[in-house]
């Protein structure tokens, strides 16, 4: 159990079991492939008399001349140079370490005052070591591992250096953080490939912070009770979700649901209370902006906030009862401390 305090982490991990399993399968497959490479290239082991004797088993003892067997059959196998094999063995160790890791590998906790971006970037870079190791092994298998700098490949590999195939294999992450630390923009650069990030948010939080991450191909979910996590986990492409307090907006933006923003966005609930205080550097104005953006995306034309001081900028006529209600709520907003 990665988190001792928040049961929502377990809930998120449970919902992400499928993507986690996919990632683990990919890692295990890679481990096996690298093991296969090592097994067929360790000339001093497998192809040696001792290696041949061990591989042939007890039945062969006394019946097969292992030295002769090794000499006659080795020409049909590939031999690797010790330097290359040493590097591949290091890569193999890294991959084995990743494959044997528990659920902690998929969980990150942002310390109070810490930055969401750094926490996620660091963890992804650590995960990226696995990709680096796989790359090194692949280079060895392709016979192109001849530079002196390959050792650097085994260092943490930042997400910005992952290729498209690696981004498609990216494992999900569950990030625990306080609402004040939820700066959605911190995640934007990571939303590529097939990555899935679930934020488990506690404390005061802006009502619709993830609205800023809505793009046509990104699955974005804000939920309180976890509704929609299954769809989130099953979606193809980048996805981000936040397990929020009940007071926050709840919505699902599913790229597969349609071509227009309104078709893709399902607004499940809207905050009854307007934000009144800045949270973590996000002013009330910014928070209201996010809510307005949410409505805009969900309903097409925006709220008519005529005559209301401090209201969100109008983007079109009132279209729905929800929009009208939201407009009224916005009009009640106390913007005195807006930063």
């Amino acid at each position: 159990m990665p988190s001792e305090s928040d049961p929502r982490v377990e809930k998120a991990l449970s919902a992400l079991a499928g993507p986690i399993e996919l990632y683990r399968s990919a890692v295990v497959t890679t481990v096996e492939e690298v093991r296969g490479y090592l097994a067929t290239h360790r000339s001093e082991d497998e192809a040696s008399d001792g290696g041949v004797a061990a591989g042939l088993g007890v039945f062969a003892a006394g019946r097969i001349d292992f030295e002769r067997f090794a000499n006659l059959t080795t020409s049909a196998t590939l031999e690797g140079d010790p330097d290359t094999l040493g590097k591949v063995e290091k890569a193999y160790d890294i991959l084995r370490g990743i494959s044997s890791g528990g659920e902690d590998a998929f969980c990150v906790r942002v310390k109070p005052g810490g930055r969401l971006r750094e926490a996620v970037a660091d963890r992804l870079a650590e995960i990226g070591r696995g990709f680096a190791a796989a790359r090194l092994a692949g280079m060895a298998r392709a016979g192109s591992l001849n530079s002196k700098n390959e050792d650097k490949l085994l260092a943490p590999l930042g997400f910005e250096r992952w290729n498209q195939a690696e981004r498609r294999l990216a494992p999900p992450l569950v990030v625990e953080l306080e609402g004040a630390g939820l700066h959605a923009g911190d995640l934007a650069e990571f939303l590529d490939g097939n990555i899935k990030i679930v934020l488990v948010v506690s404390g005061d939080v802006a009502p619709a912070p993830l609205v800023r991450l809505i793009t046509p191909s990104t699955f974005v979910l804000q939920t309180a009770a976890g509704a929609g996590l299954e769809r989130f986990a099953a979606t193809e492409g980048p996805a981000v979700a936040a397990l929020m307090p009940e007071s926050a907006a709840q919505f699902i933006h599913d790229p597969a649901a349609g071509s227009s923003p309104a078709a893709r966005l399902e607004l499940i609930s809207f905050p009854e209370q307007s934000p009144k205080n800045a949270v973590g550097g996000m002013s009330v104005r910014q928070q209201l902006d996010e809510l307005e953006q949410l409505k805009t995306l969900a309903g097409g034309p925006s709220v008519d906030a005529e005559g209301e001081e401090g209201a969100a900028p109008a983007a079109g006529p009132v279209a729905t009862k929800v929009d009208k209600l939201a407009a009224w709520l916005l009009s009640q907003a106390d913007l005195s401390d807006a930063g």
Binding site: E32, E33, R35, G36, Y37, A39, T40, E46, G51, A54, G55, L56, G57, V58, F59, A60, G62, R63, I64, D65, R68, F69, L72, T73, S75, A76, T77, L78, R141, A142, G143
Partner: protein
């Protein structure tokens, strides 16, 4: 499991202990052979299996042979319908089923007479016979019983009539479902078997049946034990020698399956066929623990096709079958040879030809295993001789199949498949496992059959290797796997496929000679007859006869040095369980004589006039019969 506690608490008391005043006669022997025989369906086999396992677990050497009728449900009380188990156990290692049974528990006189007609019983055997038939309501059966007793009286057997039915009825309503456990109790007392172990073994046998069934069976066993203690005046003592070597007890089919798992083979593709099927039952139970799967195909041909496909994709697979199945697979075996796809085929031999003797042992598939494919299809044939070798041979077979990109046929038989023998627990080695598939890019300028002109070997390509795509074909092809009917291509391909097997032969060591390195007669065997042959040779040597033996494990290619070994003996003779004409049979001449199958192979490859003695009794060879053949051949005195 609660069994252990329960058993431990009752062991000191023992069933019926203390009720007998005069001590029984103790028959102390280094080994003995016990049979339990009944109508089919009365559980004598299960009784024997438990008894054999307990003997092995107590530290005795043991070898069991199932007595199986040819039909699934033969008529009750018929001589041919006897079903059961024969357990030979001793202080030292036991390597074969021996000559004759010393103690038999029979559920009716007819199955007992059937065994006697087969010469199964020693002349001084002790017979425990259910006497329910004496008072049977059917007068015909009573007459049969009386006639049977008269027949038995012609022998020197020590016959004890046991009211098995009557005693079992005190516990169960249907004695047919319980008499076997009563018999087990009889044997347990007579042979002083560990009752704790028996209870544990019963618990294992009935692990899926629930507590009530277990209790009932233990009760019946204890009733048999108590009856024997109270009424019998003899016991048989076979000492055990404590050993620190941990052992496992299993039959050959289980050993084959376990060996395949240890070898890292993950796909067994097979179609059920007696006597191979129990291997798939075992594998089905355990494979998911190791990441493997048993695929039951729609027929024998599909089964081997699936295995070839898996091997082609990079995971060496195997198929298990018996004679009729091997015949059906032959065309696909030729394909595997042509494609140079590694493949392991286990043939659990039974009596043939055609459907033959499905439940009976024979060694008559040797030639079809070696030469059954049409065209020239060189491949490997090897033959384990014991349950332990069944396990270890699978590791070697997979490795050879992979290294030489060829088919390896492992020849076992019904004797190994169903018999049980304890052997040292294998010390598993991760290097036995097949390496995972590696898919590095390959040089597109290198052909898929990049034959080493010296060895014929070439690295295998797998689907998915960048630059490695090629069309696999069973048609004659050149090194690029392009269909090629020109003389040179076919000559080269045939040469390379043959050369590999010659190269393998060059890595083999000459076989060991059992006994003196030279002498008057060398007995050559293969497969499950090893123990019986060596026991016969021991006895012959004890009689002063100049006899040695040599057991071959590689049948194709043959181990080197055979001609030189044969040259040190005046006469060479194979002993096999397949048919051969006797030299003095009517119309048989040296030219038309059908010889035993290994003899044929040896004659062709060594140009030595190898003689043979073989029988097809549908049961293992007895060392005593082999000894007689040795004496007879030596008396003939002919020289090679």
């Amino acid at each position: 499991m609660a069994t252990k506690t329960r058993a431990s608490s009752e062991k000191k008391k023992g069933p019926g202990k203390g009720s007998k005043k005069k001590g029984p006669e103790i028959i102390r022997v280094p080994e003995t052979t016990v049979e339990i025989v009944s109508d089919s369906g009365e559980g004598a086999q299960k009784c024997g299996q438990i008894f054999g396992a307990v003997c092995a677990k107590m530290g005795n050497g043991a070898w069991t042979v199932e007595i199986i009728p040819a039909e699934i449900q033969p008529p009750a009380r018929s001589k041919a319908g006897g079903s059961g188990n024969r357990v030979r156990f001793g202080t030292e290692e036991i390597t074969n089923w021996g000559d004759a049974t010393n103690l038999v528990v029979a559920f009716n006189e007819q199955v007992l007479l059937g065994r006697i007609e087969l010469g199964a019983l020693a002349e001084d055997a002790i017979v425990l016979l259910d006497n329910k038939w004496a008072t049977h309501a059917d007068e015909d059966i009573q007459k049969e019983w009386q006639g049977g007793l008269k027949e038995l009286a012609k022998h020197d057997y020590r016959i004890v009539e046991v009211p098995m039915e009557e005693e079992c009825l005190k516990i169960v309503e249907d004695p047919r479902r319980g008499k076997n456990m009563f018999a087990l109790g009889l044997l347990a007392w007579i042979c002083d078997r560990d009752v704790d172990l028996i209870r544990a073994q019963i618990a294992h046998q009935f692990r899926r049946k629930g507590e009530e069934i277990y209790q009932r069976n233990v009760e019946l066993m204890e009733a048999g034990y108590g009856w024997a203690e109270k009424n019998l005046d003899f016991r048989i003592e076979v000492p055990t020698i404590p050993s620190d070597v941990p052992k496992v007890v299993m039959n050959g089919n289980e050993a084959i399956g376990m060996g395949a798992i240890a070898a890292g083979m993950e796909l067994c593709s097979m179609y059920p066929i007696t006597p191979a099927t129990s291997a798939s039952h075992y594998l089905s139970e355990v494979y998911d623990k190791f990441g493997g799967v048993v695929h039951q195909a729609e027929d024998e041909i599909a089964a081997v096709g699936v295995a070839i496909g898996a091997s082609y994709a990079g995971k060496v697979a195997y198929t298990i079958t018996s004679g009729p199945g091997l015949s059906l697979k032959q065309e696909f075996l030729g394909l595997a040879v042509m494609l140079e796809v590694p493949l392991v085929v286990v043939d659990v031999q039974r009596g043939g030809p055609s459907t033959g003797l499905p439940t009976k042992v024979e060694q008559s598939d040797l030639l079809t295993a070696c030469f059954g494919q049409h065209g020239d299809a060189p491949h490997v044939v090897l033959a384990p001789a014991t349950m332990e070798e069944c396990f270890h041979s699978m590791i070697t077979a997979r490795r050879i199949a992979e290294a030489f990109r060829t088919v390896v046929i492992v020849l076992t038989d019904a004797n190994l498949a169903t018999g049980v023998q304890p052997y040292p627990r294998p010390q598993l080695d991760a290097r036995w496992q097949q390496a995972p598939v590696s898919l590095p890019p390959v040089d597109e300028n290198v052909p898929p059959y990049d034959w080493d002109p010296q060895t014929g070997l070439s690295p295998q390509r797998y689907p998915g290797q960048p630059g490695g795509m090629y069309t696999a074909t069973g048609l004659a092809h050149n090194a690029w796997s392009k269909v090629a009917y020109d003389p040179d291509s076919h000559q080269l391909g045939s040469q390379m496929r043959s050369r590999k097997i010659a190269v393998l032969q060059q890595t083999l060591k000459p076989p060991q000679v059992y006994g003196s390195d030279s002498g008057e007669l060398l007995v050559v065997g293969w497969g499950s007859t090893k123990g019986a042959i060596e026991e016969a040779v021991d006895r012959a040597q004890a009689e002063g006869l100049s006899v040695s033996s040599c057991h071959l494990t590689f049948i194709q290619p043959l181990q080197p040095g055979l001609k030189e070994i044969f040259s040190r003996f005046d006469r060479v003779m194979t002993v096999e369980i397949n048919y051969s004409d006797e030299p003095d049979d009517p119309y048989i001449t040296d030219e038309n004589r059908r010889r035993a199958q290994l003899a044929w192979v040896l004659r062709a490859s060594t140009l030595v006039d190898v003689d043979c003695w073989s029988r097809v009794p549908g049961q293992p060879l007895r060392p005593g019969n082999i000894l007689k053949a040795i004496r007879q051949r030596l008396e003939m005195g002919a020289k090679v």
